[in-house]
């Protein structure tokens, strides 16, 4: 099992959800986050006082998939989230040791 952690543009959340749903992925966890990579922020001016806003709002999408589906899911996710401009975000993939469905104690990929 692999865990996919994707940091994406907030306005790309719906396209990503749709793309994943289209290939049969239903479960995911979403968090509103702030951060920046190479994309530096922007300047704001309030009554002449300048502020550099470098931590920008992003969405973090987390989901765990079976090893066999990893490539397919990553393709769907990245193509849905891509605009081709700086600031599109990043995807990280981790190994997952175990998954448990709390309701009935299912283990491993059946718990996904």
């Amino acid at each position: 099992m692999k865990k996919i952690e994707a940091i994406i543009q907030p306005f790309k959340l719906d396209p990503v959800k749709e793309a994943l749903k289209a290939i049969g992925i239903d479960g995911m966890t979403i968090t509103e986050v702030r951060g920046h990579g190479r994309q530096k922020g922007h300047k704001e001016v309030y009554r002449g006082q300048e502020y550099n806003v470098d931590l920008l709002p992003k969405m973090k999408v987390e989901l765990v998939v079976a090893d066999a589906r990893l490539d397919e899911v990553l393709r769907a996710l990245t193509s849905a989230a891509r605009t081709g401009k700086i600031g599109d975000g990043k995807v990280f993939v981790y190994d997952v040791a175990e998954a448990i469905r709390i309701r009935n104690d299912d283990r491993g990929e059946t718990a996904l």
Binding site: E44, V45, Y46, R47, G48, Q49, Y51
Partner: protein, 457 residues
């Protein structure tokens, strides 16, 4: 035959009514007076309510949006609680000190506890409305003035010290200044026997110079907020400030047009001047900022509007619509430069630009009133022979500009000295500045035990 009957009938009718003509005229006179009083009183009560709306929610929202999220409630409370504090003080001694006859500097105590302030008019101030209407209308001005100062000490003053400060400030600065300019026999009164007549239609000196200059003294005395100017202190919600500024704009019609004290043509010209001043100033600030920084900010446009309303306050009721546009436009540019260039050059932390907007705008407006005041708009000032007086420079009375400067200087002097003394007293008794930890935590939690926003529930 018909004509004859009619003639006889009318002669009989005349004979019958002749003895009661005086009585009927008297009744007519009473009816006319009562109709005028009804119209004037309706407008003045509406105006009083509009001016209260400027403090809450107008100023509370305008200032509340400009502070950081952790101080939004504390800042709104500064405005709100003054609606209660000053009201109580006004009833006890405030109205009397400001508006009772007394010395040229302060009123005596004849109206203390509002003794004798009833329904019958006080002809010295407003002959067609109940004395109580005048009293409660003036109260709303006394409420907003110290609330304006709170923009300078926002985010760092102890709540208890702020309460003591504003009570003492009303007693030592506002009531004397209001008496000098508007009270019967006041030193600067233009219509009630002042030695140095100074035109201030709705409170350029009394409200905006006193509050704006006192704000500067507070900002200098309290020192900068922890982290200023290195940390991010951007407004937590310009949206709230936009709503607040729009409420101020509307409320200001009560402030200025209400100062005609009647539903008269003078009220209309004050209304028009007010509106024109606000509009031109919003444009002035916006274009100045657009030229300097490349972007016309929303905060800039609404700040300009408030600056224009401040500057037109003393002039409304004295100037024609085009000078009103000019005064507003200048105020927009001057206040923009004061709140940005000048503030940064001198490095004081006037958190919400109470001085940059009210001190600078009020001073500009007070002096320009001496230039543009004209008897075409306001012919209520007569010499001993009953001839209408020339008012400002445009009327050929250039000396009025000097009177305006003297009035302005007195307001500045009283505000500086009074505020310094009061701050020293408050510092000795309570300590004016919040503890460092309390300030970093935010005044909402440390002073009031609440948070403005709690979205999880």
């Amino acid at each position: 035959m018909k004509v004859l009957i009619l003639l006889v009938f009318s002669v009989v009718a005349m004979a019958q009514t002749a003895p009661s003509i005086d009585a009927r005229l008297a009744a007519l006179d009473t009816a006319v007076k009562s109709a005028q009083s009804a119209g004037d009183n309706a407008w003045m009560l509406t105006s009083a309510a509009l001016v209260l709306m400027m403090t809450g929610p107008g100023l509370a929202l305008f200032y509340g949006g400009l502070v950081r999220r952790k101080n939004v409630l504390g800042t709104m409370m500064h405005s709100f609680i003054l609606m209660a504090v000053i009201t109580a003080l006004w009833a006890i001694v405030g109205y009397s000190l400001a508006f009772a006859e007394g010395s040229p500097v302060i009123g005596d105590l004849r109206y203390a506890f509002l003794r004798g302030v009833g329904i019958s008019p006080n002809p010295d101030y407003a002959a067609t409305i109940p004395h109580q209407t005048y009293m409660v209308y003036q109260l709303m001005f006394a409420i907003i003035t110290p609330a304006l100062i709170s923009g300078a000490f926002a985010e760092r003053m102890k709540f208890s010290a702020m309460l003591l400060f504003t009570v003492l400030w009303a007693l030592l600065v506002y009531f004397p200044m209001a008496h000098m300019v508007w009270g019967k026999g006041g030193l600067l009164s233009a219509s009630l026997g002042g030695k140095i007549p100074c035109y201030d239609f709705a409170g350029g000196t009394v409200v905006h110079i006193t509050s704006g200059v006192s704000a500067l003294i507070c900002a200098l005395y309290l020192g900068k907020r922890v982290g200023y100017p290195h940390e991010q202190m951007k407004p937590h919600s310009v949206v709230l400030s936009v709503i607040g500024a729009c409420l101020l704009w509307v409320g200001w019609f009560g402030f200025n047009a209400g100062s005609a004290l009647a539903a008269s043509g003078l009220a209309t010209s004050a209304f028009v001047a007010t509106h024109f001043g606000a509009a031109a100033a919003a444009l002035g600030w916006m274009f100045a900022e657009w030229l300097r920084t490349g972007k016309p900010s929303v905060l800039g446009a609404i700040s300009g509007c408030v600056a224009g309303l401040v500057a037109i306050t003393p002039a409304s009721g004295f100037v024609q619509p085009f000078p009103a546009l000019l005064i507003g436009f200048l105020a927009g540019i001057v206040c923009y430069l004061m709140a940005t260039l000048v503030k940064h050059k001198f490095g004081y932390d006037d958190s919400l630009d109470a001085f940059g907007v009210h001190g600078a705008g009020g001073t500009l407006g007070a002096i320009l009133t001496g230039v543009f005041a004209t008897s075409v708009i306001n012919d209520s000032f007569k010499d001993s022979a009953g001839k209408t007086l020339a008012l400002g420079w445009v009327d050929g009375n250039a000396g009025q500009v000097l009177n305006q400067v003297i009035g302005t200087a007195i307001a500045w002097g009283l505000a500086i000295v009074g505020t310094l003394i009061i701050l020293k007293i408050c510092d000795a008794v309570i300590g004016v500045r919040a503890e460092r930890d309390a300030e970093i935590e935010g005044l909402d939690l440390s002073m009031h035990g609440e948070e403005g926003y709690f979205f999880e529930t």
